[in-house]
């Protein structure tokens, strides 16, 4: 299918997952991600897949654990409060070294919060979010076509590293419509000798488990897992560098706010202010290196995000406090306007703030 279709971000995730070989979807409706489930409910029965609306988010994530144990590609999706409910299962997936794709189309929080877009689950997504020593790979799409591409990539990464890969989108990304052609999806097949597929009495049993009562053994497991995480950090960082060649100010922003920031950058450059952007596409692993390199060239950073300032901490850590980092933010479901970001750029450029 090279012809373009008009898709919502949520639909693009669902269609890309199907094209990436996912035949199992378990979820529970919640605004603003419900179209993922709605799309799956229409498509899966037609292609021999399984769509199941679970009785709760907790049930859905445990079904994901079950299917993933058998080596099949599986996913679930939700929005912020629902992802919190799934967090226990995500830790179990990490503890069992099971691959899975988890989608979070974020809305305002905490608590039930609201239904309008937000990026306030950044901490939850990138710092583990549930109990224990672990990481998820976190991908942050910034367009409907990236929703599709990163979904497919997410399955490949999850299988390759036996990790949970999370798509961290927001309500706007999920609901907005853009023309896309979902045709360059590459399935990277990975051998899964650990999967529970039945021994046929020909091999020893496989065991999928996260319980290790001997501390020495659990420590060793965590060391092994973190050696793997190091490989991910070394090899899988993705980011976009935008107008950074001569930039005096570096915006760091992901997802929908990166789009808003691009408009502000164009407007700022028209006024003669040299500003560029590093857009993290992987939020974990975070693009520390390009930000550290930029710190020697720019006079300041601005973290543009839809929360009270979460990614800004990673920006400060990455650039090791070489240059000041300012925050330009809205929260609670509000989206910063290009004018607001431009005003922030002008302030920082003028030395105020």
């Amino acid at each position: 299918m090279s012809e373009k279709v008009l898709m919502k971000g949520n639909e693009a995730i669902a269609e890309a997952a199907i094209k990436a070989g996912c035949r199992f979807y378990f979820g529970y409706p919640i605004t603003p991600q419900t179209e993922v489930a709605a799309y799956m409910s229409k498509r899966m029965p037609k292609i021999g897949g399984t769509f199941l609306q679970a009785e709760s988010e907790i049930a859905a994530i445990n079904m994901v654990i079950g299917v993933s144990s058998t080596g099949k590609r599986v996913m679930t999706s939700s929005s912020s409060p629902g992802v919190s409910l799934k967090s226990e299962g995500i830790s179990y997936l990490a503890g069992c070294d099971l691959p899975a794709l988890v989608v979070n189309v974020q809305r305002g929080g905490p608590g039930l919060g609201g239904i309008q877009p937000s990026q306030s689950d950044y901490f939850q997504a990138t710092k583990g979010g549930s109990h224990g020593d672990y990481h998820n790979i976190v991908l942050a799409p910034s367009s409907v076509s990236e929703m599709a591409l990163l979904t497919a990539k997410g399955f490949n990464l999850a299988d390759k590293y036996r990790m949970v890969c999370m798509i961290l989108a927001d309500g706007t990304m999920g609901q907005m419509m853009e023309p896309v052609a979902i045709d360059d999806i590459v399935i990277e097949e990975v051998e899964k000798p650990w999967a529970l597929t039945g021994t046929d009495c020909k091999r020893p049993r496989n065991i999928v488990n996260s319980l290790y009562l001997k501390p020495e053994e659990l420590e060793r497991k965590n060391f092994e897992r973190f050696a793997k995480y190091k490989t991910v950090e070394e090899n899988e960082v993705l980011y976009e560098s935008y107008m950074m060649e001569d930039a005096d100010i570096c915006i760091v922003s992901f997802g929908i706010t990166a789009r808003v920031s691009k408009n502000a950058i164009v407007a700022a450059r028209a006024k003669g202010i040299k500003v560029g952007m590093i857009r993290p596409i992987t939020l974990w692993p975070f693009p520390k290196k390009p930000i550290l390199e930029a710190a020697d060239k720019v006079k300041a950073f601005i973290s543009v995000e839809m929360n009270m300032g979460q990614m800004i901490q990673d920006v400060e850590l990455a650039e090791r406090c070489k240059k000041p980092v300012y925050l330009c933010n809205r929260t609670g479901g509000m989206i910063p306007s290009p004018e607001e970001v431009l005003a922030s750029i002008e302030k920082v450029n003028g030395g105020e703030q």
Binding site: V5, L6, M7, E11, A38, G114, I115, G171, P179, P338
Partner: protein, 221 residues
Amino acid sequence: MKEFKRVTLFAGHYGSGKTNVAVNYALMMKEKGLDVAIADLDIVNPYFRTKDSADELEKHGIKLISSEFAGSNVDLPALPAEIYSLVDIHDRYAIFDIGGDDRGATALGRYADAIKSEDDYELLMVINKFRPLSRTPELVLEIMHEIETTANMKFTGLVNDSNLGAETTAADVLDSVGFAKKVSEITGLPIRFTTVTRKIFDEVKDKIDNLMVIKLQKKIV
């Protein structure tokens, strides 16, 4: 035959552009000097809905009736009693923007009997061949059947709203007419009109019958 029925209802697959079509249809009627009100019956999608165009509609003197919760972030599928005024008061034109798919059409069921007994309405199926789940006439038929069953009403016509958003070209619109005609042939329903943006109107105006120009459109960064 008079140009407009007393009641015009727009239904279709979600994301096909029903709200956009309904709002622009109301503006067009108003421009012809008709007294028109519009009701937002969408109980499914709390994100993009008629209420987003409330200011514009008000500016043109078009009454909008929608859930008091619409756009308030309260995800509550409730409809105001005032909607009955569009069904009961027969000296004003009424437009209904129905929610997407069969689920969205559920809300229409409760007004269906009154609308049918007045017998001065058209129920139009909004189709967009560029939407992934309505890319073949067969898929459109499937959605139409689901909506008719839920709404307890039969479609009377089609609206060809095929578009790729801001990237839509004249060729895309021309190309979609064949698709709409195919649906028209199978269902026996007329294509009431094809939508087109102002930008490409001139390119297609001599090639497509019954065009409606989309003047008011929502935009995202």
